[in-house]
């Protein structure tokens, strides 16, 4: 994760995790990889940030988890969204769009610039 975007990442960490779990259950490493891959490597979550965030979201009932054994390697703790987590993700999306538009307006970013 580039140093100049780390502040932004902190504020959007839970949204990213919720989005990474939107397609189904994943374990911690997969979540980190999903975020890294989908953002072309721009967002790289540190384990020290990811796991505490996952645990906090689980405490807030946004996620639920279960340990599953796999054929090869140690068992994995899979996380998935709860109903509350799904509605939180929707809310995060709406809030983010409003926020992004506001910042775009303020920074006078034209749509073409924003999409590149």
């Amino acid at each position: 994760m580039a140093g100049d975007t780390s502040e932004l990442l902190r504020g959007t960490l839970s949204s990213l995790v919720l989005a990474a779990l939107a397609d189904g259950q994943r374990y911690g490493y997969e979540i980190a990889r999903e975020i890294r891959t989908k953002t072309d490597g721009l967002l790289h979550l540190k384990e020290g940030s990811l796991y505490p965030a996952l645990h906090a979201m689980e405490r807030d009932s946004l996620l639920t988890s279960e340990w599953l054994t796999v054929e090869k390697g140690p068992s994995r703790k899979y996380y998935r969204l709860t109903r509350k987590g799904r509605s939180a993700l929707r809310a995060h999306r709406e809030r983010w769009l409003r926020f992004r538009d506001a910042v775009d307006m303020m920074l006078q970013v034209k749509p073409a610039e924003g999409t590149t």
Binding site: S6, E7, R10, G11, Y27, G28, Y29, E30, R33, K46, E47, G48, S49, Y51, P52, H55, A56, R59, W67, K72, G73, P74, S75, R76, K77
Partner: protein
């Protein structure tokens, strides 16, 4: 060989998390999953097993930093043994006491600044003494936190210290500490509940909490120091107690967790207390001498 490296790393982390209570086990299990998944992916990419293991470990980070992150996250961090918990609590008490002396110096510094005292030796001593204390605090923060926490943590520490010292001089210690306490509680709760997502807890609430402890200790210290003899006895007894706590911490071979943090704070407090005590003594001596010279 590589699996062995991974397991060795995990056992290091496990040892460091041992004091974090029952949450340590699932955390280690989850970390094991993560490490092995990363390792397997590197192997699948054609990486040498040893290099893959080393890279996976490097990616996860140094055990110490990681343990701190997880220990902070572990809900209800509790010591397993009541005796050790008591030792930790005692260390915090000692920290508060020595913090008293440190902030008494801050109080004196405010007084000195108000009278533009840096022109004479007392002022120079006070400023350099307090700068030394801030350097110690900064050094402590830089050793125990990440650099960004250190950078973000020190300014609030200094600002709140000056503000509290100023109000304390005008209105007394108690009126200065009550708003600070309320501010700290509100900030702490707001940050903990995610109201300030861009300001993690340790950037604001921890430095404030630290200064709050110093300030409350200062108020107590000021009351105690009205009897100079009693204050000196407290200083000696506190130093001995803190030293014993640090020794006990070392004997118990703690490396992380609440108790060792407390013991480390106790050790830090000894240094601060001794410096503060020495500075106060020097200032008193020099003040007397200056007064005498002026009188002559």
């Amino acid at each position: 060989m590589s699996n062995h490296e991974l397991e060795e790393f995990l056992s290091q982390v496990e040892a460091r998390l041992a004091l974090s209570g029952p949450n340590a086990e699932p955390i280690i299990a989850e970390l094991r999953t993560h490490l092995y998944a990363d390792y397997e992916e590197r192997l699948a990419g054609g990486c040498d097993p040893e290099i893959a293991a080393r890279e996976a470990i490097r990616e996860v980070g140094e055990a110490r930093g990681l343990a701190q992150e997880f220990a902070r996250d572990a809900a209800g961090v509790r010591a397993r043994r009541p005796v050790l918990r008591t030792v930790g609590a005692l260390a915090i008490a000692v920290y508060g006491f020595f913090g008293a002396i440190a902030l008494c110096d801050a109080y004196a510094l405010m007084h000195a600044i108000a009278r533009i005292l840096p022109r004479n030796p007392n002022g120079v001593l006070l400023v350099t003494g307090w700068a030394g204390h801030l350097y110690n605090a900064a050094d402590w923060l830089s050793q125990h936190r990440q650099v960004e926490d250190f950078v973000c943590g020190v300014p609030p520490l200094v600002v709140v210290g000056i503000a509290v010292g100023y109000v304390a001089r005008r209105r007394g210690w108690l009126p200065a500490m009550v708003p600070a306490l309320l501010f700290w509680l509100v900030t702490w709760q707001a940050v903990a509940r995610g109201k300030f997502p861009f300001m993690p807890y340790e950037h604001i609430a921890q430095p404030l909490g630290m200064f709050l402890a110093l300030g409350l200790g200062a108020w107590l210290g000021e009351r105690l120091s009205r009897s100079r003899l009693r204050a000196r006895r407290f200083l000696v007894a506190g130093a001995a107690l803190a030293f014993a706590i640090v020794c006990l911490g070392g004997l118990a071979q703690f490396s992380e967790g609440l108790l060792i943090s407390s013991a480390a704070i106790g050790g830090y407090a000894v240094v601060v207390g001794l410096i503060g005590g020495l500075a106060s003594w020097l200032v008193r001596r020099l003040s007397r001498r200056t007064d005498t010279l002026t009188a002559n």
